[in-house]
Symmetry: C2
Subunit: 408 residues, 2 copies
């Protein structure tokens, strides 16, 4: 299927991705669903690597998510196995056994406790997971020459049309550290979070609890602010591994971690934007800023109501600045709003204010803006100081093409 | 636009619609947006007609909704004016003036207090409402030969591809009474309720408070159980007028009203189903029954999560019984659910049970069922006795076609 879908017009090229000290990446072909492409990633971490994770809030999570949740409190990681093609979701006891077999194989191969192995799977739901195919290539993966982050980003793709990665440097305890991440995801993307996998690697030394706090906050401001189709995956996983190889003095002091937090936030934001840019069928990247709500939480709920409205999304696909549908979406959010205080701008032009269209507003710049790839919508609720920004994409024929025949 | 959209393959023919005593219907061409077709309906009611109404929960309602809400406590109706083409939503003070001008004109024409005039508008949001066009035809409408319910049903259509009406008889106080209704709506349909207008007429004599109680309950079990695209219109209106011309003894006794309540529920259910059958781009009517939830409320929320999932809806469009996506939707509903107790059936065949696929289940009847026009999904949550049924349609290219270019 992936070969039939053209690359998103919103795709961005991979940045230069230097290796992260203490992370060894290997990719290979397990042939789980896809043939003739890499579909499995093994990452091996230096001893002492700490780990943080954030997972889907879907109440029917995949077996790998359950596994990771159980291992996370240990705070230590030595290995990560990711496969594409089968999500190992809703496979009952067999799904659990597949997870255990994969973890055991990785642990034995690496020579580390099972409790330090993390797993993620993405792909079709409800088909038995052929764990033996992953186990069968584990040893050869471990012995392979090292792969780069770019290959790793490609190995975890499903309906993605381009690989996704981001990188930043930060100062930590007087030392330069690096944070790089890869992600996959293009459909079933909604808070919280998405059929979205993201793996971040840093050479910084940071205790697991501090890492966890920073990751949770960073995800809330990035992946939890994007939506493609309002569907929440059963497999969403964001893992952050800190190898400590930069040899900074480990710290959990928030002030000392400020620049790391900034860099982590930027990597997460970049990855989230790449996921939206690869939204299934996406032709336009849509930024929705809500201001003047009664709280930040309320602003985000209103923003997501707009971002998830099929009528708003199809209007954008049709390059129609149909602010009437935005009014509808604000009203359906269930958050405090007053029709007669609402204001709406598209591409910086305020089209509606004080409960009605702005008389004689110049439509020309709005029409031009709607023809572009990046659409900017601003909504002022006029009630308070709550503010939020969310991102989505348009809803096009491509979405129907991709999702109407995924399994066939 | 309407002329370009083929009639829904799920359309049903209009039933025979006898006139309702005490209701006089007239349709005409106000030329608000559509040319060469009727776009305005004037209904005049006998003196003593009582009225009940249920309206959108959207917090940015149209001016006609605000008007009706203010008039409803009076409980008396002499006139109803409905137009198609302009929803008179988000027009600020001008919208309010348009409503007042229309109501004043109808009141003068009919010779009744303004407080007994009810209004509804459907169509584009945020364009100034040319009330003078309605006012201009009011007198000629009033003088026209009577129209039937079928013409009335056609006059209020927007993106509808077929007119919608239903009728039932009921026994009330030893007398046979009639309930007939018309509806329009095909997009922006979701609880509570839809770009959905429905007007019901009965010759029964029923006090307004009893009428209101029955209508509210009936709507909750019909229109509030359907969803097309999760969007909630700013204009949703259901009005029920009881002319009293059947000369039954007015009653608010629940036991005496039982058969009327049954008939009202059936008319509402029929109309709601017709709206789903005309869902924008719909190729399949989808019934989702959720059983075993912790409460009826929880069951409905789970049902709507499934019904609103773009991934479920596109899978159905692709005739793919992708129960993995149903698992996902159950999990994202935020209601109590246990992955390992879930069971899912399509077309009566249980495909998944106890957290996994049913080993060796026969896919053939499921594949055949998915090719049909009416899709039946059953979900057993396995936790309690809560139960609900909701209806939706599939998500197809037609939806994108219709909504990507509505205004152009």
């Amino acid at each position: 299927m992936a070969g039939l879908i053209p690359t998103s017009p919103l795709a961005l090229p991979l940045p230069a991705l230097p290796p992260v000290a203490g992370v060894r990446l290997a990719v290979g072909q397990a042939g789980i669903r896809y043939q003739g492409r890499n579909d499995v990633l093994l990452a091996t971490f230096a001893e002492g690597t700490t780990v943080a994770g954030v997972f889907t809030k879907n109440l029917c999570p995949g077996a790998p998510v359950t596994w990771c949740r159980e291992m996370l409190p240990g705070g230590q990681a030595r290995g990560l196995v990711v496969n594409a093609g089968n999500a190992n979701v809703f496979n009952g006891v067999a799904g659990q056994r597949a997870v255990e077999a994969t973890a055991k194989s990785a642990a034995q191969t690496i020579g580390a406790p099972r409790e330090t192995i993390f797993l993620a799977s993405t792909g079709v739901i409800g088909e038995p997971m052929p764990a033996h195919k992953i186990v069968g290539v584990m040893q050869s993966l471990y012995g392979k020459p090292e792969s780069g982050l770019a290959d790793a980003a490609r190995a975890i793709m499903t309906t993605d049309t381009f690989p996704k990665a981001a990188t930043r440097k930060a100062r930590l305890g007087g030392i330069e550290v690096q944070i790089s991440g890869i992600a996959k995801g293009s459909g079933m993307i909604a808070p919280d979070m998405a059929t979205m996998l993201a793996f971040l690697f840093t050479d910084a030394a940071i205790p697991a609890p501090a890492l966890q706090a920073m990751l949770a906050k960073g995800v809330d401001h990035s992946f939890n602010c994007i939506t493609i189709d309002s569907d929440t995956s059963t497999s969403d996983t964001v893992l952050l591994f800190a190898t400590g190889q930069a040899r900074n003095k480990p710290t959990d002091d928030p002030a000392a971690l400020a620049d790391f937090r900034r860099a982590l936030g930027e990597v997460l934001h970049d990855l989230a934007m790449l996921v939206v840019r690869d939204g299934e069928g996406a032709q336009k990247l849509v930024k929705i800023t809500v201001d003047g709500a009664v709280s930040n939480h309320s602003a985000r709920r209103i923003g997501l109501a707009i971002a998830n409205s099929p009528l708003v999304k199809t209007a954008i696909a049709g390059e129609d600045a149909n602010w009437g549908r935005i009014v509808m979406a604000v009203g359906k959010a269930g958050e405090p709003a007053d029709r007669d205080k609402l204001a709406i701008a598209v591409g910086g032009t305020w089209m509606a204010k004080a409960g009605g269209v702005v008389p004689g507003y110049n439509e020309a710049p709005v029409v031009a803006h709607m023809k572009g790839r990046e659409i900017d919508i601003e909504v002022d609720i006029g009630l308070g100081t709550g503010r939020a920004t969310v991102w989505t994409c348009d809803l096009t024929h491509g979405y129907i093409d991709i999702n109407g025949s995924y399994r066939s």
